[in-house]
């Protein structure tokens, strides 16, 4: 009969499909804007971020901000050459990012690069930039160890690390608010692992109870088994150490399961307009830490927000968008130090020794290239909007967070 020999090929198919599912994701393509390489008076910078794929909102907003700063610099006439940017879409995939990094280092006019929302992608491109001796300034990936004595001085980072971000979060939630019974949910990416590791350690140091840890695959849509587990564990607070898609699903399904009496707090990866999309009702009361200082608090920062709004971009400003803008300011500052003929070697020194005051305060780098500018502030969802916690009705006591 027709079906006789199919059973075995079906076995292989299932195995193959299982493998495909694990590696599932979506394709991305390069969005190179590399210009005319013949022009003698052009200096190029590389920029990498996920413009397609699951983190496209953050990646595209960062690109917009970075290009906004570079365009302004070109228009100002302060530089004797035109600065061009090679924009690489890494689609949040290490292999795509690595290919993009190769494309950047292959261009002789490139003097520096900046990039990365995903720590995993940064891990893939760092060896390439190091080998090519082209400085890479990281604006958004927060895993510890990306900046290290081995990677110094080529790799610097203007964003805080997972520890630099988690500590202020823990200080507020545990020391100030008194949440002691925790459940950690994160994803299996480098970002999720890094956050889980750091936060687990903080909980132990602060004498809190960790009632469970669950890591989910990216693309998980059903969190109910975990939620049931959280419910029966007696945790009073859930820490989410991943990015926005899974966070919004988890929060939504927790709300659905009637668990509004459990605090939901997350790392800056969940700070996004997307998180609010699940509906004001479910998102209400969720907390997120955001690195840096509130841009709207300083005139420079407010100018950035106004300029960005005036730019008519479709992606709103995310947690790391100001950092991408700041990265541009740091690179521009370094370019200025290098005079009329910047080289990658000169840029390496110029970046590591730079002192740049931009919209996020003053950035300098420590002995292995990590920023000394550590600041963070808390946000809370109130009526479908991210509001600075200190200015929210939760701070004044009009609304209350779940009991610790």
């Amino acid at each position: 009969m027709l079906k006789k020999s199919r059973k075995y090929s079906l076995l292989w198919l299932v195995v193959l499909m299982a493998a495909l599912l694990i590696a599932a994701g979506c394709g991305g393509q390069d969005a190179g804007t590399g210009g005319d390489s013949e022009a003698p008076d052009v200096v190029k910078l590389g920029f990498l971020s996920p413009i397609t794929g699951p983190n496209s909102a953050e990646g595209a907003a960062a690109r917009n901000a970075f290009l906004m700063a570079i365009d302004a610099a070109n228009a100002s006439g302060e530089f004797p050459y035109t600065i061009e940017v090679i924009v690489i879409d890494d689609a949040s995939k290490p292999e795509v990012g690595a290919a993009g990094a190769q494309q950047i280092v292959a261009d002789e006019k490139v003097v520096a690069a900046t990039g990365h929302w995903n720590s995993g992608v940064a891990e893939a491109t760092i060896p390439i930039f190091k080998q090519a001796e082209i400085p890479l300034l990281i604006w958004g990936a927060i895993k510890e160890g990306l900046t290290s004595p081995e990677n110094y001085p080529y790799i610097t980072r203007s964003a805080p690390t997972a520890a630099q971000e988690n500590e202020p979060l823990a200080n507020i939630l545990i020391k100030d608010m008194g949440y002691k019974k925790w459940f950690i949910v994160s994803d299996v990416t480098s970002y999720g692992e890094a956050n889980t590791e750091v936060f687990t350690k903080i909980l132990a140091d602060m004498g809190c109870e960790l009632l469970g840890t669950e890591k989910v695959q990216e693309g998980t849509v059903d969190f109910r088994p975990i939620i049931q587990k959280i419910k029966s564990s007696g945790a009073t607070a859930v820490y989410f150490g991943g990015v926005v898609t899974e966070a919004s699903l988890l929060k939504n399904q927790m709300h659905e399961a009637g668990m509004d009496d459990v605090l939901f707090a997350g790392i800056s990866g969940i700070y996004s307009e997307d998180f609010l999309k699940i509906g004001a009702e479910a998102a209400e009361g969720a907390l997120a830490i955001k690195p840096g200082i509130d841009p709207s608090k300083s005139p420079e920062g407010q100018k950035f927000l106004d300029d960005y709004a005036a730019g008519g971009y479709s992606e709103p400003v995310g947690a790391f968008t100001p950092y991408a803008y700041e990265a541009a300011l740091i690179l521009l500052n370094a370019l200025k130090q290098c005079g009329d003929n910047p080289t990658p070697a000169a840029m390496v020194d110029a970046i590591k020794d730079s002192e740049t005051t931009g919209i996020m305060g003053t950035t300098t780098f420590n002995e292995f290239g990590q920023t000394n500018n550590v600041a963070a502030y808390m946000l809370v969802v109130q009526d479908g909007k991210w509001v600075s916690f200190d200015e929210s009705e939760y701070a004044t006591g009009t609304r209350v967070l779940p009991q610790p």
Binding site: R6, A18, L21, P225, Q228
Partner: protein, 321 residues
Amino acid sequence: MELLFGQIINAILLGCTYTLVAIGFSLFFGVMDVVVFCAGDIAIFGAFSIMGAYTILASAGIFSVLPFTVAVFILLLVASILCASLGLLTYRFSVKPFENTSALMPLLSTIALGVVIKEVLGLVFQRVVNPLAKAAASGGEALAVQGGRNPQAMPVLIAPDGTITERNLIIIGVTLFLLLALFLFLNKTKIGLSMQAISQNKDLSRMIGINVNRIVILTFVIGGVLLAIGGFLVGSYNTIIRFDNGTMYGTKGFAAAVVGGLSNIYGAIVGGMLLAFVEVFVSGYIPNGTAYSSIIAFVVVVFFIVFKPEGIIGEKTVEKV
């Protein structure tokens, strides 16, 4: 005890979502002897059709003119028509041209079609006005969001003012109703019986006067409608849909169908439930088990294929020597 009960409900609900996609696989495999791999994507296309139609019709004020259930019925009708058309397109362009070739051809072409459906969804639904979950029922205002290829909120159309338990019961109820309707259709109607005849022997069916082409086309239409409703339930259950959800549902649905016995639609139910129970219980009872739930579920699938290749409810095919 409460934990166990909750997890069983979770597993049954997840099983319902897998089952509906698995039945799509079984139906198509039954009549055409091919694995139509884009079944999961067709289902998610159904969910997106509902969301899209909702966005358009809700802003046109349909919910204020018509009673809620009638409006939801219209949305389901729109999605069913679109999915049935997509089922027809699948048949016409990805299955029929390869009718007399190796089974790998339609498999490959439907995988390709699945990628097309997925990417088109990702592109089309980039910037939509996505009304807040409960906006329509309570006459609230729509919220403009940037979608990117990020998840879209599925409008709450099942018991919008009810509790989550009510909503879940409705999802289970609708799934049971669909299964019952399908059972009656296959066993009590002439078309259903013709489908079964074709699945057993196409040549003989042709000889006894069954219009095989017509029945096959009908199967794809019915499969499309089933998948549309399946996608609606999947989206409503998850509360969020993403353009690439179909890949996961396709793989899980296919695995469920194979475990149950690919040519048997009742096997799809058993397979779907088995897969869901393994996943939920690994995730719910093993500390830090969630990261491994899919892996263990697929190990179970492979185990079944090795030791029971005909499927749990499949008939043993006897090779004629």
